[in-house]
């Protein structure tokens, strides 16, 4: 059972990342839960959600001691670094979060997602780049599954935008596989 | 040949009314039933009685009747009408029901323009509970909770609910009438007819406010009560067509 937190500010597509990942994992045949922050927790522009993926029954969908965190801004790092499971991995959008981790039992993976997105011509795919990197590293699901999940969720999206999302995923994954992130 | 020219209308049951001597409720019941009969809608009308003296209205009206909690008649009628839009739905409400505890439901039902008809019986007091102040009790009027008369500073002035409702866009027809004289009774029947016709035509929310005597709680004779409506109640609540967008 692996718990992942996706966190950032509203508009970064944080909830979408978690949702797409959860649908992909469900279609892969895994047990999943997706718990978004809601109500007052969502005020002030922050957004986060927790996705649990497991081969067995999931008891709690809550983000107590997550194994992974995909962090899109600095306040989210402050919020989640302390509660991470020992040995956990934090994926950082390094264009927005420059500081180092304070815990030495965690691994950080830094992805200049905004930079890559600019190369692709649209900052809208920052979340897909992060998700591609996350998937490539954790191998909890495949890029194809994520694309299937995405097309299931956003039904009426133009083919060109879907293509852009795919390129975002690919570039994020490539970044990990080339080993640039350490 | 002798001809029967006045008798109990078809949609009033044979049961004797429980109302006090000289009470306006049963006159109004009869007028509503006469209108239902004349419009030929008795087999598709559903009435919603209030809490208060007229809570037992279902014992008299011979149409389908569904009880509402105090003040909630318009909300309940909304539920019925939305499920059965081709039926005729009316709520029957007293002054406390419509202008105190149920003000919110009334205003919002009117604002949605629900295609129902409201019979608003204004007798300036809480009848069933024993003559306490109503939102429509007149300034200076005695009640069991306004000893020495209603005081504007202490109790606020009487509320003009019908005028307020006229400001609401969903209302199409609002008239204030009375049942304290032959002429006013006849006008009341015309107003009720117009209100039901507005509903039949699907125009929206219609309401008839009816000034009605309560000799028991006013501590007056029946005839004095009728006179008091003319002399006092109408000073605060003048009879008039408050809104008519039926055209």
């Amino acid at each position: 059972m692996k718990k992942t937190v996706f966190a950032g500010f509203g508009g970064q597509g944080v909830l979408m990342m978690g949702y797409v990942f959860a649908v992909a994992a469900m279609r892969d045949g895994r047990e999943v839960t997706y718990l978004p922050a809601y109500g007052a927790e969502m005020r002030g522009g922050t957004a986060n959600c927790t996705v649990v993926v497991s081969d067995e029954e999931i008891f709690s969908p809550v983000s107590s001691s997550p194994d992974f965190a995909v962090i899109m801004n600095k306040p989210s790092l402050v919020k989640y670094e302390g509660v991470m499971n020992g040995g956990g991995t934090i994926f950082l959008n390094s264009n927005h979060v420059s500081r180092e981790l304070t815990r030495d039992d965690l691994t950080s993976i830094r992805i200049p997602a905004v930079e890559i997105a600019k190369e692709l011509g649209s900052e809208r795919v920052v979340n897909m780049i992060m998700l591609g990197a996350f998937a490539a590293h954790t191998r909890m699901t495949s890029l194809d599954s994520i694309m299937n999940g995405l097309s299931e969720i956003v039904k009426d999206t133009k083919a060109s935008i879907m293509k852009l999302n795919r390129r975002g995923l690919d570039r994020g994954a490539e970044y990990i596989l080339k080993g640039d992130s350490r | 040949m002798e001809e029967l020219v006045f008798t109990r209308p078809r949609y009033i049951k044979k049961a004797p009314f429980h109302y006090c001597p000289g009470c306006g409720h049963s006159i109004i019941h009869r007028l509503v039933a006469e209108v239902i009969e004349e419009l030929g809608i008795g087999e598709k009308t559903i009435g919603v009685p209030p809490a208060g003296c007229a809570v037992l209205a279902y014992d008299y009206f011979d149409v389908d009747m569904g009880e509402a909690p105090h003040g909630r008649g318009p909300a309940l009628a909304t539920g019925i009408k939305r499920i059965l839009p081709d039926r005729i739905v009316f709520s029957y409400q007293g002054d406390g029901d419509i202008a105190a505890i149920g003000t919110s439901e009334t205003i919002h039902t009117a604002n949605r323009g629900e295609n129902i008809t409201v019979i608003f019986v204004n007798n300036n007091c809480y009848g069933m509970t024993g003559g306490q102040m109503a939102p429509t009790t007149l300034l200076g009027q005695n009640s069991t909770t306004t000893p020495g008369g209603r005081d504007e500073n202490r109790d606020g002035p009487p509320i003009d609910l019908s005028e307020m409702l006229a400001l609401v866009r969903g209302t199409v027809y609002i008239e204030r009438t009375a049942v304290n004289s032959i002429r006013n009774i006849r006008n009341t029947k015309k107003a009720i007819t117009k209100a039901f016709k507005a509903q039949i035509a699907g125009l929206g929310f219609s309401l008839v406010e009816i000034l009605s005597p309560c000799p028991t709680n006013w501590k007056m004779s029946s005839t004095d009560s009728c006179r008091w409506i003319d002399e006092s109640v109408m000073q605060t609540f003048p009879l008039k067509v408050i809104k008519d967008e039926i055209g």
Binding site: - | E2, L4, P16, C23, G24, S181, I182, P215, S222, T223
Partner: protein, 77 residues
């Protein structure tokens, strides 16, 4: 024009003695009964007759229109 002739029937069991009918009858045809009904009210009763011209019921229905208890039926002709 010949004056209309009418007749009313008061159901004394339904009458609660508010006497609004008495107050509206233009020809003073309605009075108050000496006897009380089973509810304890002294019901209204017809005191005019067709024969007495000064108290002739015309079947105008005013009494019935104002009666809160639908205790009055009106016949005409």
């Amino acid at each position: 024009m010949k004056p209309k002739k009418g007749r009313i029937v008061i159901d004394s069991r339904l009458c609660k003695g508010c006497y609004l009918c008495v107050s509206v009858c233009p020809n003073e045809c309605i009075g108050i009964s000496e006897e009380s009904n089973e509810k304890g009210y002294h019901p209204a009763k017809v005191i005019g007759t067709k024969d007495a011209n000064d108290r002739a019921c015309t079947g105008c229905t005013l009494c019935a229109v104002i009666c809160p208890d639908i205790a009055i039926e009106v016949y005409r002709g």
